[in-house]
Symmetry: C2
Subunit: 355 residues, 2 copies
């Protein structure tokens, strides 16, 4: 439990004042090159590393931004975190990650935790479009906040997301072009904005509910729910021509149940999904899925965080990106074969470091 060396230690060792040592260490201010070298050497010898908390207390800046995700179990959120981290790393900043356990209450706690750690900004994927608002507003009073992927109406926060209606439109039109007439939607309750927007889009596109051409199964974004929904579908009579899933997590659960029941995908039923995560690549067939440009979204989010010249309030902004449908075997037509080359399109996954 050795005590860490401080600026004073370094200063003493180098025979200068703490102020000079600090200046030399920071590199910015003008210091006699000779002294600077002496300080560097002393710092080296003592194994000095600056105490981030002390510095933060003084400068009110931590070089760290906080990220809150609903659940780290969802691979899409993992990829978002990795993308954000990549962007931050480029400017020598880091990220502290919090998991809200899909609870707005825990989320509020985590946001508070991060605020009290004086993060320079907050990127939040809100749990609920209703219950996340209060914590978000509170946080926004203390520093810049960007909502990511999901949105809870809030006056002082920016938003970066993808166009869910557009994504669902691509899904539906794709399977319709393949001949699907009846469709089921398996997604999450519209408590989050993304779930709500996807559901709304599906409803708007997939015919009338009374016409028996549309089915809806709503619960949450989990594999378990995908399984349960699959069982419902199997029990409810003839399968639809296509199943539209609100997330890969759901789709993989659903798929495993269908396969246990010897249902052939895509021959008997086509499956389209959302997120384009690694999960959709390890199933057989691989999943046709909507990809969101997480990298670009992450860049934009960090840009917006820093985009308050004097910390002054400014009108909040929304940046919406268009998603694209990646077509794979789960909707393949008879003539197309499993493509082995498909993996290559995500060949260079962004490595992660959190913070």
């Amino acid at each position: 439990m050795k005590k860490r060396a401080t600026v004073r230690d370094v200063a003493a060792e180098a025979g200068v004042s703490p102020a000079t040592a600090a200046r030399a260490l920071s590199g910015n201010a003008s210091v006699d090159p000779v002294l600077a070298r002496r300080v560097a050497a002393a710092s080296q010898r003592l194994g000095y590393t600056t105490n981030v908390m002390a510095r933060a207390l003084r400068t009110q800046q931590t070089g760290t931004i906080g990220v809150v995700v609903p659940s780290i179990t969802n691979p899409f959120f993992v990829s978002a975190v990795e993308a954000l981290e990549g962007v931050l790393a480029r400017s020598n900043r880091s990220l502290v990650l919090c998991d809200a356990r899909n609870s707005a209450l825990t989320e509020a706690e985590r946001i508070e935790f991060l605020v009290s750690r004086m993060v320079d900004g907050l990127v939040v994927i809100p749990v609920s479009r209703r219950d996340s608002r209060q914590a978000l507003n509170l946080a926004a009073a203390h520093g810049p906040v960007v909502q990511f992927d999901r949105y809870a109406p809030s006056t002082n926060t920016d938003f970066v997301g993808a166009d869910n209606a557009e994504g669902v439109r691509q899904m539906v039109e794709h399977v319709q072009a393949l001949g699907a007439r009846t469709m089921a939607y398996v997604g999450a309750q519209p408590t989050s904005s993304s779930a709500a927007e996807r559901l709304d889009a599906f409803r708007g596109l997939a015919g009338s509910p009374s016409g028996d051409r549309r089915m809806e199964f709503l619960d949450d974004f989990t594999t378990e729910w995908g399984r349960t929904a699959g069982e419902h579908l199997l029990a409810d009579g003839p399968l639809p021509d296509a199943i539209v899933c609100g997330a890969d997590l759901i789709a993989v659960g659903l798929l495993s149940v269908l396969q246990d029941a010897k249902v052939k995908v895509p021959a008997d039923v086509k499956i389209v999904s959302y997120d384009d995560s690694m999960m959709g690549l390890i199933t057989s067939p691989r999943l046709t899925s909507v990809r969101q440009p997480v990298e670009l979204m992450a860049e934009e989010a960090i840009r917006l965080l820093g985009d308050r010249p004097d910390g002054e309030p400014r009108p909040s902004r929304k940046s919406i990106f268009s998603p694209t449908l990646v077509i794979r075997e789960s909707t393949a037509t008879a003539s197309s074969r499993p493509s082995r080359t498909e993996h290559s399109d995500r060949a260079a996954p962004h490595p992660a470091a959190i913070p």
Copy 2:
């Protein structure tokens, strides 16, 4: 960008001294109930939240422990993080998560970052048993460090892990009992201790390499490598009776390639895997896999972190837990059918909150 209220603000508002306010806020010391109430009210009114960094600077305690994982992409590490967080939450502490991007260099940076943030302790799943040592030793000089799941020989750190030799023994004996004579091992290069121990165990159990009854494919713990290895296996002639995988990530990649090639699992070849992650449940067939008692391991790790009465050095300790083999369809015998009930054994996943 409102300035946060401080103890002094609260004190002024309540008409007491900062010290009294602080005492009242902390709840520990003895304060006149009347004043205490006044302080509480004032704190409420001002929306006071204690500045964690300032407190830490003073007390040298942050109530936060740092966790460094090789890559958050590996579901086993995610489950470890979730387990650790669960344990910490129970004692009102939180965790800051870092991802080393599978690089010892990044790992060293992250460890340094955490040390400079004055975390109360460090749980590290080291990237490499060789290259992680230096950073670990450095960190151990400043506070308690526990290595988790993987081990890089180090004098001042404790270790909590599972018995890899035992796990592999169970895998091998299971498939042998099912009649497998030839076996392939698909795992990672022995740069990490777990990869090394699993490989060694396999070598010790699966017959001589010259006897043509054993094959080895080594690279890293990724799905991509599982695919590549699968292609090698298919190209290399007749498949073995069983394939022993060093991780679920590998197994799912391997499985997807085998299925593209119309190989039947388990009829044509049995697959056993390691980690018992969610990935093994979404494949078809589901994976027989070795489960490590992450929950218990996490508890033990946190216990060891706090187990240095005066921060005094003490002889380091190792805690080794026994894993268990969870049998599923990827090694099912002809008579056994896919069990739908299998999911229930992981019905209550430990929710996560990081920190």
